[in-house]
């Protein structure tokens, strides 16, 4: 297993190139290019803000910022999942012709999306300054939160990219799971809206910790509880370990099914 990890490290140049390729291809044919990365969540935010603050009369100060803090990490998570589901299958030709550690395909998606995610934090901060919200020193914790988010997402992505090779209809299931997960995670609504009797259920949702952290440090400007941080770190590490282990165990079988 150590060999495999070392080998993956040796292919870091390829991983870097694949990430660059992903990014280039995404923006190659668009006039606005990288601006889309920033515009996309802003548009989402405008739509959701109109719906929730004005039509559904969701009363909350700075709802737009509140929303973005949850939406950005969520978008990263859900895009990565849906893209990595097909990542091995769509590279079948390459996998059949050249020897490459196969984990680079889902991982390249994880990394190219994180570039987008970080870029889209820029308009968030611009918007906060524009709306007169003070940015607290707690944002220094963002790198740790990002690391958690990457590990958590990578674990699940590795798992489903491999599983989807063996069961091709898994990609449909993922769409449903992701939609359900979106509504079951406090993204468009605050945590304290959840009725007390369901609180326990929500506490079992790992995304509450992974995504919730962003809202704590950016929107509320406070440092989360120590327990909260520990749980999110453990959950991420656990997800990554399980995902990678599954991938590692089944990697050699992929070629027979692809």
């Amino acid at each position: 297993m150590l060999d495999k990890i070392k080998e993956l490290y040796n292919f870091r140049e390829l991983l870097k190139n694949l990430v660059i390729k992903e990014l280039k291809l995404r923006y190659k044919r668009s006039v606005l290019g990288f601006l889309w990365t920033m515009l996309n969540p802003l548009m989402m935010m405008i739509i959701l803000t109109i719906v929730f603050s004005h039509m559904m009369r969701f009363d909350m100060k700075n709802f737009a910022i509140f929303l973005l803090c949850g939406l950005l990490p969520w978008n990263y998570f859900s895009h990565s999942l849906s893209m990595s589901t097909m990542s091995l299958i769509s590279n079948a030709n390459l996998i059949n012709k050249v020897y490459i550690p196969k984990a680079v395909f889902p991982l390249s998606i994880i990394f190219s999306n994180i570039v987008n995610m970080i870029l889209s934090l820029i308009p968030l901060f611009v918007l906060m300054i524009f709306m007169g919200i003070e940015i607290q020193p707690s944002v220094m914790l963002i790198p740790i939160l990002l690391l958690n988010l990457i590990l958590f997402t990578a674990g699940i992505s590795l798992f489903i990219s491999c599983l989807n090779v063996f069961f091709r209809d898994f990609t449909h299931m993922i769409e449903i799971i992701v939609t359900a997960w979106f509504y079951l995670t406090p993204i468009i609504y605050p945590m304290d809206m959840i009725p007390a009797k369901y609180e326990m259920v929500f506490k079992l949702n790992p995304l509450v910790y992974i995504i919730g952290g962003f809202r704590e440090v950016i929107f509320y400007g406070r440092i989360p509880d120590f327990n909260f941080i520990i749980i999110s770190v453990l959950v991420s590490l656990f997800s990554f370990a399980i995902g990678y282990l599954y991938f590692y165990k089944n990697e050699n079988q992929i070629i027979y099914y692809i």
Partner: protein, 400 residues
């Protein structure tokens, strides 16, 4: 593993699961599970206990029929497949050309693809940077390096692919069948590059159908049949052993059904005879070759047309005469009969040739029996001092 070996393949086997019924989806798996059905499969051994030691600096060829396991062996050596049993050890850096330009991304430019594919082949950015000009020059793409590769011609595509694979500067180069593609000048360039490799003392492993190239390039050849290594040694000997197996019918010339037709007339047998009337499959350049086509017509057939064709080993169609074209009209045939076709002086050079025989109706549209590549004959090295190409044409040199 000793130091003078480049690759040591030790008792390697590969087994595939051959599914009779296979659930490809979670849904089917779940339904089958509830019904108590399990996926039925048996193991298919694509390779069985193959051991090969390849010395540093050797050029070796792997030959065998389609489905013999030779491509599996190549994929195992290239690390694309993990062997089910056994072990392979390497001495040095490996680069495999299974398909030229397999990793190209159509939307990216030639330059971007060089960096991406260089990385796929395990090169660092600095390595690629250093070799960039060399790659572009070899691929002759100086003018086109800034346009997306989707706009490349297939020739440009392959040139770039080949240039990249060799730029890796591997110690061991693996090549699958790719030298059969590309135009002639490019092929020459590739062969020249491979010769440079050889001279630098690098190890080359080639899988090919083109026995002549194997014989010309390789120091050693391996014959794979049904996943087993059945012969190894000097290319000339292995290839002649292989040709022998084919002519004895122990190896099917083709796995595909190579016979079709209405069956009103059947070709019973095709035999080759030399000038003294002895049945043989071996001839020398310049010999007389008589072909006897024995047939059986189950009813009276008016105006049949007998045709035949000769193909070189790599599928070049050499000739294809028929009785109608030659003005040799046959009124009718019924029952058993023999037709003879005589080549007075065989101008083919050394090699194996496939023979196709067919009987058509007068319009040459409906085949009664069309037996593609039903037989093979071999032309041996003779007193003719020529060995390149397919043909001997009587000629002389003169200084003027």
């Amino acid at each position: 593993m000793t130091d003078n070996l480049a690759i040591s393949i030790n008792n390697v086997s590969v087994k595939y699961k051959l599914f009779h019924e296979r659930s490809l989806t979670l849904k089917e798996t779940a339904i089958n599970f509830l019904k108590g059905k399990i996926d039925k499969y048996e193991y298919l051994w694509a390779l069985k206990g193959v051991s090969i030691s390849i010395k540093k600096g050797e050029t070796v060829g792997i030959i065998g029929q389609n489905g013999s396991g030779k491509s599996t062996l190549l994929k195992v050596i290239a690390k694309i497949l993990e062997p089910s049993e056994g072990k392979i050890q390497y001495n040095g850096k490996l680069s495999a050309m299974i398909e030229l330009g397999a990793g190209f991304s159509a939307e990216l430019t030639g330059e971007e693809n060089i960096y991406l594919n260089g990385a796929i082949l395990g090169l660092s950015k600095n390595d690629i940077h250093e070799k960039f000009d060399e790659i572009v020059e070899f691929a002759e793409l100086e003018k086109f390096i800034d346009i997306p590769v989707k706009n490349y011609s297939s020739g440009m595509y392959m040139r770039l692919g080949f240039a990249l694979s060799t730029a890796v500067d591997p110690d061991i180069l693996i090549i699958d069948e790719i030298l059969a593609v590309g135009d002639e000048s490019f092929q020459k360039k590739c062969f020249k590059k491979l010769n440079e490799f050889k001279q630098k003392g690098k190890t080359i492993i080639i899988v090919s159908h083109d026995l002549n190239s194997i014989e010309r390039m390789c120091d050693k050849a391996y014959l794979i049949k049904n996943g087993n290594l059945i012969s190894e040694g000097h290319p000339k000997e292995v290839i002649s052993f292989y040709r022998n197996l084919i002519s004895r019918g122990e190896i099917e010339i083709s796995n595909s059904p190579n016979r079709l037709g209405g069956g009103e007339v059947r070709i019973k047998e095709v035999r080759f005879y030399n000038s003294s009337g002895v049945k043989t499959d071996y001839f020398n350049t310049g010999d007389t070759l008589k072909v006897r086509i024995e047939y059986h017509a189950s009813r009276r057939i008016d105006k049949p047309v007998f045709g035949l064709a000769i193909y070189s080993e790599n599928g070049v169609h050499i000739n294809g005469p028929n009785t109608k074209l030659s003005g040799f009209e046959i009124d009718f045939i019924e029952g058993e009969g023999v037709l003879e076709y005589i080549i007075k002086s065989l101008s083919l050079l050394e090699g194996s040739y496939y023979f196709t025989a067919a009987i058509f109706d007068y319009t040459c549209i409906h085949p009664y029996d069309y037996w593609e590549k039903c037989h093979q004959f071999t032309v041996l090295n003779s007193n003719i001092n020529e060995k390149y190409g397919l043909f001997y044409m009587p000629s002389e040199w003169r200084r003027v």
